[in-house]
Structure formats: structure tokens, C-alpha cells
């Protein structure tokens, strides 16, 4: 099968959906000729024109609000938010307007909108261009949240998101844009709420999201060489969350580590760990462990930044302890 980058996969997904449905359009800063700073959208304006690949002023709340109104009246906007950190700027439009419109109108209005943005540290971009803020969005009822972990996932999830009648936020890992993976030429969609078991195992379950799926895969390889059999699961979407697959794995292996690049406190790791504790408690041999990003603003210096996020080595270290019954309590 051919291999393409995550960036090309997203580009293909958008182009295919824009060809299929003329109500789909892209709106954001430098999305047209510039194709975004990451060049993910290169070539789209040439095919679809500036009416459907719409460059905006630097006014995130404004273009997000326009997208919400456009979605309510018969179009399917894909909003390009250059950095995930800018989500703070659009909170009212995303959380008070888009997320609640269907509910507040008793089901009469809907907001079929996709917000494309990114996450991920270790790119030496400091505290305002490196955050992983998907937990903030996942906290708000009415929004769906997808976290692609490869080019294959990015394409299938984007196509599903565009066809979804709800507001969907997709966080791409900006370090992964140039990573290649096998992606079929034929059309495919990846349904929301279906976790992907990447590797089966019997001693411990590693649940990883987005950028942390590769970290978990590498950790599982190292653990395998030491005779520890690790299962690796990518939930793909955290809203909706495929609880059944996660619980079944926890019941099977009896030990779980949840790895996610958002801040550890009050985050995705805590939520998933809690659900497993509530629903699989009697099957567990150890506390479910959370591994998120350090609860500090992302520092600039490489010497500091690299220690703020989970690594294959730190996951392996914690997994060993859990499997050997050493860990009662982890920090």
C-alpha cells in the first residue's frame, strides 16, 4: 500500500469531501495561498477557489462565530485554527454557542462544523504554541473530540467529522505532519467511538491518545523484549469514548496506564482511569496509573521541555513497576 504523510492525508480528506459536498468550505488564517504554516492545505485553493478556501483576518472569535452561523444555516465549515493554544480565544463561540445550540433549541438547530487544530509539545515553541488542550473541549457536552494518531487515522476521522451533524474538534499532532503511514487509495471512513487495539497483550494495557500512541507502541516493544506483554489501545475519539473496549482490556490484563499529552491534573488520563476504576475495580491488580504532561506551562528550553511529556522510557519504567507489584502510589 502507498504511504503518505499525515499532512497529505488531511489534505486528501478535505479535497475528497469538498468534491463530494459543495456546502463544505474551509475558513481560517492563511488557509488559501499560504496553505497554513504547516502547508497542510497546499493546493486546495487552486482547486476550490477563494470562495471555499477562505482567508480571514487574524480574528479567531470572529471567524469561529461566522462558521457557527454558517453551519446553522446549511453549510459545513471546516475551521482552521492555526494552533490549539488559540482555543482560549474562541471559547464563547465554541462552548457557549456551537456546543449548546442543538440542545438549547430542543433539537431544531444543529451546527455541523469541524474545528481543525493541533496539539503537542517538544517543538521548541514555548508555552503559547505547544499546549494539548483537548480535555478542555471534551469537558463540554455537545462537542465531539477526535485525536488521530497516524496518517491513516487522520484521513478517516476527518472524513467522518465533516459528515457528522455535530460540532467536532480534531486535534492533529503537529510533530506528526511529516510522518508517513500506509493509507489506501480507496475511500474509507473511521467511525467515531471505536477504539483501535494496535497490539494485543496480557500483562498490562497501555491506553495512548494522539501523539502518545507511538510512545506506547515503543514502550510495548521494549516491554516485550523483557517478557512483559503489553496491549496498546488508541481510543481515536475521546468523545464519544469506546468504554467497552477499554474496560474489556482492563479486565483481561488487570493493569492499566493511561498516557495523554494534556496536563495530567483534571485531564483525559484522570477521566479514563476513573471510569476503569468504577467499572472494572474487581478485575484490577494495581491502581490505574495516569501519565499526562507535567502541570507546568510548556517551557522553551529543550533541557526543560523534553522532561514535561511522557516518553517510551518513562512509560516502560512505570509499567515494570506495576507488573512487578512495586507501585502502590505513583506521582
Amino acid at each position: 500500500m502507498r504511504e503518505i504523510t499525515l499532512s497529505q492525508a488531511v489534505n486528501e480528506a478535505l479535497a475528497e469531501e469538498m468534491r463530494r459536498d459543495e456546502t463544505v468550505f474551509i475558513i481560517g488564517e492563511d488557509v488559501a495561498e499560504a496553505g497554513t504554516p504547516f502547508k497542510v492545505l497546499s493546493g486546495l485553493v487552486e482547486e476550490f477557489g477563494t470562495a471555499r478556501v477562505v482567508d480571514t483576518p487574524i480574528a479567531e472569535p470572529g471567524f469561529m462565530g461566522i462558521a457557527v452561523g454558517a453551519a446553522m444555516t446549511g453549510t459545513r465549515p471546516v475551521v482552521d485554527l492555526m494552533f490549539g493554544d488559540f482555543i482560549y480565544l474562541i471559547m464563547d463561540q465554541l462552548c457557549n454557542q456551537a456546543a449548546k445550540t442543538h440542545y438549547m433549541s430542543g433539537g431544531k438547530l444543529s451546527v455541523p462544523l469541524v474545528l481543525r487544530t493541533n496539539l503537542g509539545a517538544t517543538r521548541r515553541s514555548a508555552a503559547q504554541h505547544s499546549q494539548s488542550l483537548h480535555a478542555l473541549v471534551a469537558h463540554i457536552p455537545g462537542l465531539k473530540v477526535a485525536l488521530p494518531s497516524s496518517a491513516y487515522e487522520a484521513k478517516g476521522l476527518m472524513k467522518t467529522a465533516i459528515r457528522d451533524d455535530n460540532p467536532v474538534v480534531i486535534f492533529e499532532d503537529k510533530l506528526m505532519y511529516q510522518d508517513k503511514a500506509p493509507v489506501p487509495e480507496e475511500e474509507y471512513l473511521i467511525p467515531f467511538g471505536e477504539a483501535n487495539v494496535l497490539r494485543e497483550g496480557s500483562d498490562i494495557t497501555l491506553i495512548g491518545t494522539s501523539s502518545m500512541v507511538q510512545v506506547c507502541q515503543k514502550a510495548a516493544e521494549i516491554l516485550g523484549s523483557e517478557g512483559i506483554s503489553a496491549e496498546v489501545i488508541d481510543p481515536r475519539t475521546i468523545v464519544p469514548l469506546d468504554e467497552e473496549t477499554l474496560l474489556a482490556s482492563a479486565r483481561k490484563t488487570s493493569r492499566v496506564i493511561v498516557v495523554d499529552e494534556g496536563h495530567q491534573s483534571f485531564g483525559v488520563t484522570g477521566e479514563i482511569a476513573s471510569r476503569i476504576n468504577e467499572k472494572a475495580f474487581y478485575h484490577l491488580d494495581a491502581p490505574v496509573l495516569r501519565m499526562g504532561a507535567m502541570d507546568v506551562p510548556v517551557p522553551f528550553s529543550p533541557a526543560l521541555e523534553d522532561i514535561t511529556v511522557p516518553t517510551p522510557e518513562s512509560v516502560v519504567e512505570n509499567a515494570r513497576r506495576l507488573v512487578h507489584g512495586e507501585m502502590i502510589h505513583a506521582a
Binding site: 452561523g69 454557542q97 442543538h102 430542543g106 431544531k108
Partner: protein
């Protein structure tokens, strides 16, 4: 009042404008009574006094044209074609309300008439209105969207962002600022530097000021702007000077600290949009006093019947609580989770 001479061909339009203004006043009088008698959950914001704004504008719109409304939104909702029964049911949180009781006074949306909804965030619908106009342009429709907001909302940054884009892209949107002189409990001249009209003009947007108590003047201006917006000559801005008779909300009773009773009396007695338009109708021979009294009595009966209906109507079933969170999931919450 407008010195306009009545046109024979417009008699039905004049009577409908009067009826719609009287319906808004009747709706608000009943809503206020529901609040005062503790029959309504929560609180609400009265539109009384501003009727000529909503009616003058909405009478210039088609059903397919869109509006976005505010927390003070009952007037816009009635003027765009909503029914009393579904509105009172919504105010009381009943299943037959426009939003099945899930929105309440501050979130009534009536999609069938192009009302994209009231909004409880001041200025919160400015993006939505502009986006609705964007849809019209993208899909090649000639729908026009009117964005209603108050003077208080002109302090929100969002307005400047979306006006900029509306002007750049020539979107068919009319920004209608209902300047009632008060931003909640504060005089507008204390929160607004310079001129509000000049702010829209700074984006190259053609701007107008009109007496918001004169329904004919509001309507005549809006008719012209809507026709031009349909042809791609928008956006436009209109500042409508008006007055709210009640406080910021129904519970804002003692308001001497921000405005005088004399001032309120002056607006109610000398500039009331309904009284003024009624005199004009009689003066121009369009209706006589007895006919207008009969119309008012019929509206009062309709309102009372709708209130009685809503009071007796049923609340939504508790199983509705997690419905309509997502379009494709009947019940959003997993059974068995602790509550």
C-alpha cells in the same frame, strides 16, 4: 411620528404592523405578570417600549430571511412570526415550547420563521448572524440576515471582528443596534466612547440612524436596505434610538440610581410607539378607535388563552434531560453511571 401619508395599497401592511406591535406589548405584559405572580421559573427581560424596532424591521423581511436575537428577544420572536402558545410554553419550561422547554426566555429559536435564536451572551450572536449571511453568499441565495443587538453589545470585540469580515466580503447582513440608552444598569454614555455610528463607518459600512419609536420610519429605511443587501450591496448598520420601559430584567424594580421616573414617564407618555402609530392610523382614516379597540381586545384574549394553555401544559419527561445533546445519539448519557 412620521409625516408619511398613508398609501391605500398598504392598508393591510399598516394594520399588521399595529397588530404585531400590540401583540408584543400584550405578550410582555403577560410575561411580566407570570413573573410577578411567581408562576414563571427564572427571570426575563422585557421588550416593552421597543416594539417599533422589531416590527419595523421584521415587516421588511421574508420568512426565509434570518434574524439573530438577544436576551431581550421576545419582541424579535413575535415580529418574525412566532405564536404565543409555543412562546409561553417555552417561558414556562413546557414540552410544547419552541425549544421543548430547554431554552427558556433567553434562548427561544424559531427556525421555521428564520429566527436563529435569542442569545444570553451579550453580543454572542454577532458571529452567527454574519455566518448566516456568509451562507447566503456561498450558496448563492438572496436571503438577508438582520443581527439585533443592544447598545451594551457594542462594547464587545466580536462585533468589530465580524463587521470587518462582513465589509471585506460584502455580506448581506444588517447590524441593527437597539440603543435604549442603558447597558444593563449603566447609562450608555458611560460605556461608549465617541460615536457608535462612526465605529461601523470606520469599516466602510454605510450607516444610518433612525427614530426607533417610529415604526414607519424604521420600516421604510429597512425596506430599502434589505432590497440593496439582496443585490449584494451590504452590509449595513442602523442605530435605532429607543427605550425600554422596564428595568434590565423583570426583577430590576428600584432603578432610581441609574434613571429617573420622570424620564420613564416622558418616554411612555410622549413617545410610545404604539400610541403614536395608533393616532396616525386614525388620523389617516385607516382604522377608527372602535376597530383598534376590538383588535386590542382580540389580542388580549389570544394572549390570555395562550398563558392558560401554557400553565396547564405538561413539562418534558425527565428522560428528555440527555436528549438533543448530539444530533445522532438519542440519549447521550450511559445508563449505570453514578449521578
Amino acid at each position: 411620528m412620521s409625516r408619511a401619508k398613508a398609501k391605500k395599497s398598504n392598508v393591510d401592511d399598516y394594520l399588521r404592523m399595529y397588530r404585531q406591535m400590540a401583540r408584543i406589548r400584550a405578550f410582555e405584559d403577560n410575561a411580566n405578570q407570570l413573573y410577578l405572580s411567581a408562576k414563571m421559573p427564572g427571570l426575563t427581560h422585557m421588550y416593552s417600549g421597543e416594539e417599533a424596532v422589531a416590527v419595523g424591521i421584521c415587516e421588511a423581511l421574508r420568512v426565509t430571511d434570518k434574524i439573530t436575537s438577544t436576551h431581550r428577544g421576545h419582541g424579535h420572536c413575535v415580529a418574525k412570526g412566532a405564536e404565543f402558545k409555543e412562546m409561553f410554553c417555552e417561558l414556562l419550561g413546557k414540552e410544547e415550547g419552541y425549544c421543548r422547554g430547554k431554552g427558556g426566555s433567553m434562548h427561544i429559536a424559531d427556525q421555521s420563521n428564520g429566527n436563529l435564536g435569542a442569545n444570553a451572551i451579550v453580543g454572542g450572536s454577532m458571529g452567527i448572524a454574519t455566518g448566516s449571511a456568509f451562507t447566503a453568499k456561498l450558496l448563492g441565495k438572496d436571503d438577508v440576515t438582520v443581527c439585533f443587538f443592544g447598545d451594551g453589545a457594542t462594547a464587545q470585540g466580536l462585533w468589530y471582528e465580524v463587521m470587518n469580515m462582513a465589509a471585506l466580503w460584502k455580506l448581506p447582513v444588517i447590524y441593527a443596534c437597539e440603543n435604549n440608552g442603558y447597558s444593563e444598569y449603566t447609562r450608555t454614555d458611560e460605556i461608549a466612547a465617541g460615536s457608535i455610528v462612526a465605529r461601523a463607518e470606520a469599516f466602510g459600512i454605510e450607516s444610518h440612524q433612525v427614530d426607533g419609536q417610529d415604526v414607519l420610519a424604521v420600516n421604510a429605511l429597512t425596506e430599502k436596505l434589505v432590497a440593496r443587501a439582496r443585490k449584494g450591496e451590504g452590509p449595513f448598520f442602523v442605530e435605532l434610538k429607543t427605550y425600554r420601559y422596564h428595568g434590565h430584567h423583570v426583577g430590576d424594580i428600584n432603578r432610581d440610581y441609574y434613571r429617573s421616573k420622570d424620564e420613564e414617564k416622558d418616554w411612555k407618555e410622549n413617545r410610545d410607539p404604539i400610541i403614536r402609530f395608533r393616532s396616525w392610523l386614525v388620523e389617516q382614516g385607516i382604522a377608527n378607535e372602535a376597530e383598534i379597540d376590538a383588535m386590542n381586545a382580540e389580542i388580549a384574549d389570544d394572549a390570555k388563552a395562550a398563558v392558560d394553555y401554557a400553565l396547564a401544559a405538561k413539562y418534558p419527561d425527565s428522560t428528555e434531560v440527555d436528549m438533543h445533546v448530539y444530533t445522532d445519539v438519542k440519549h447521550a448519557l450511559a445508563r449505570g453511571d453514578a449521578r
